[in-house]
Amino acid sequence: MIEYKRLVRRTEPYILGAIILLSALIQARSGQFFTNNNLVDLTRSMVVPALFAIGAQMVIISGGIDVSFTAVASLAMYATTRILLPIDYAGNVALAYAMGASFGLVMGALNGVLIAWFRFPTLVVTLGTSSLFVGIMQGVLGAHELPVPQSMREHGQAFLFSVHNAQLDLSSEMPVTILILLGILALVFLIMRYTMLGRGIFAVGGDEVSAQRAGFNVLGTKMFIYCFVGAVAGIGGIARASMMQNCHPTNLNGMELTVIAAVVLGGTRVSGGLGTITGAMLGVALMTIMSNSLILIGVPTYWQKVFTGAIIIIGTGVSAWQVNASQRRLATRRLATGKQLG
């Protein structure tokens, strides 16, 4: 009974239900959903948003919000490509990832200093820094579309396995970048669940003052979050450029909103302190299925933004309502006991 109640209060089962319903609907309308190539394609287009979602979720759990990660990813990706392209770098792709992660880390550290040390509001800071990063990329570096160096090209073409849809004569490949996603997922899962650092992130998001009193290093925890999230964004940028086989400076713009929406939809509490990786990944899956399949069920792409907006509002509305409801329950209970005492 208790187990059942706990399940009902959680968000993940609802998201899973929504995914199943939506998939069934798309399958019924188009007959093209549960085909091997569509499923592989969906997974493929989930890789980069999922990487970003991991970072966005850590920030939201800690009580902040980061809208700069797409700018960080774009600049890290562009700077790395600019450096490696002239020599058409063909060595281990790990170097590209290390460079992207380092660029991201530096940019994340700037966010971290402004947020952790100066204690400025996260939204205003990340709005400012994302404008700064975009400006540096397009003004100072004069960004334009670039091909990627050989190592990234090969890395992006490499695949784990390939499926063939005989009916449509289409093949899809599972990219190796999914291993990077899985690796980072495992790392973040371990950090968030089994280390004091991870518990500190939840504690800071739940109540900063209490976390401080309980002995958590709030400043250090926040610095870690923004540096780490910057590095993950940089890695996401490299993965993106590799998979697209070219480095496009602006086509990540606007993705920050869908990613944040996905995270919140997945049950991460917007005021901080609560959230699961499973939920965030389910949220990303739902958003990806939605944006990839609107066409399959005959909805014009013009409606994309309306759907994103509606999902953000419904997702955040439901979670805000749940919080309010639990507070109200608490208040009425107090009132009831008060009356009994009186």
Partner: protein, 343 residues
């Protein structure tokens, strides 16, 4: 109790705000002097001032809207979406009832309906954001990020993503007219809005409640203020101002499109922060915001005089100025706090 403490509190706030205004004024004069010294031949031309007075009202009015919501402890990130959606509603109506080339009388009649229509759309858009924030308790950032997407989405659906041109000429003629040959209509609208909102904030009960709500929402509730109603009205006001900005944008571009002014959101937040609006709510004046608007316009027109400077340097400058303004305000607040504890 409130009667006793309010004047003292107000006095201290007034003193701090005077200092802030003096700082902004010095900054304004500095930027003005710098630009005049760099390119006196271009910057000091009367034509340049008229064109600046035509440019700043559209984002200045939205900045006042964002500032209102920030003073109330929130933020309205949907101003640009609201502005475009309102403009598109007005444009659709104008094109349907008085297409390009209709007689002036018919156009005028259509304009007299189109403007209230746009304002109503703005009010409704703001009311919906306010409802999400106050009644459902969604954090303002996320609620308005959502409504921004939603309104821009509706705007795209209504126009299929294409600009709505073919507006009757009279509309943009009226919108770009210059009173006495040197007072552009957008500038007059900005002045009217600034004075009106300034008075509302400083002199009315509603204004006081907005400040109280932004300072401490719980205390405001225990003081008997209906926070939900104040919040909804604040966001409605912000929506209304956005629709005014949308109408100005539509006159200037002589068209309406779903993605006009995409960079204005950041710029408006920057103006509010620069103008001394507290990001945590409770402080800020229209005077400060107006000075910040002018500083930005001088900077931006100044940059325009150098053709070889890429437009993207503007992004760096906006982002950089925003962060510097935050650091500066932080340093001032810290010094003040230290002085306070010394006493």
């Amino acid at each position: 109790m409130t009667n006793k403490t309010a004047p003292i509190g107000r006095l201290r706030i007034a003193k701090d705000e005077d200092r802030n205004l003096v700082r902004l004024l010095i900054m304004l004069l500095f930027v003005f002097a710098l630009m005049s010294a760099l390119r006196p031949d271009i910057f000091l031309r009367p034509g340049n001032f008229i064109s600046m007075a035509t440019q700043f009202p559209e984002y200045g009015i939205m900045a006042i809207g964002i500032s209102l919501t920030m003073i109330a402890g929130g933020i309205d990130l949907a101003v640009v979406g609201t502005a475009n959606l309102s403009a598109i509603a007005a444009a659709k109506y104008l094109i349907a009832t008085a297409p390009k080339g209709s007689p002036d009388g018919q156009v005028l009649g259509a304009i007299l309906v189109a403007i209230p229509l746009a304002l109503a759309v703005g009010l409704a858009a703001g009311a919906f954001s306010g409802f999400l924030i106050s009644r459902l308790g969604i954090p303002p950032i996320l609620a308005t990020l959502g409504t921004q997407q939603l309104y821009t989405g509706f705007a795209i659906v209504l126009t299929s993503g294409k600009p709505l041109s073919r507006l009757p000429l009279l509309y943009s003629e009226l919108g770009n007219a210059e009173l006495f040959g040197f007072l552009p209509v957008p500038f007059l609208l900005y002045a009217a809005v600034a004075i009106l909102i300034g008075v509302v904030l400083a002199k009315t009960r509603f204004g006081l409640r907005v400040y109280l709500l932004g300072t401490n929402a719980k205390a405001a509730r225990y003081a008997g203020i209906n926070n939900d109603s104040v919040l909804i009205r604040t966001y409605m006001l912000s929506g209304l101002l956005s629709s005014v900005a949308g109408l100005i944008m539509m006159a200037r571009a002589n068209s309406a499109k779903a993605d006009y002014g995409a960079s204005y959101t950041l710029q408006c937040v920057l103006i509010a922060v620069l103008g001394g609006v507290d990001v945590n709510g409770g402080f800020g004046t229209v005077r400060g915001v107006t000075l910040a608007v002018l500083i930005l316009q001088f900077l931006s027109s100044g940059l325009n005089m150098f053709e070889h400077v890429s437009n993207f340097y503007r992004d760096i400058i906006w982002g950089g100025v925003l962060i510097l303004a935050l650091v500066f305000n932080w340093a001032i607040a810290r010094r003040r706090e230290r002085a306070f504890y010394k006493k």
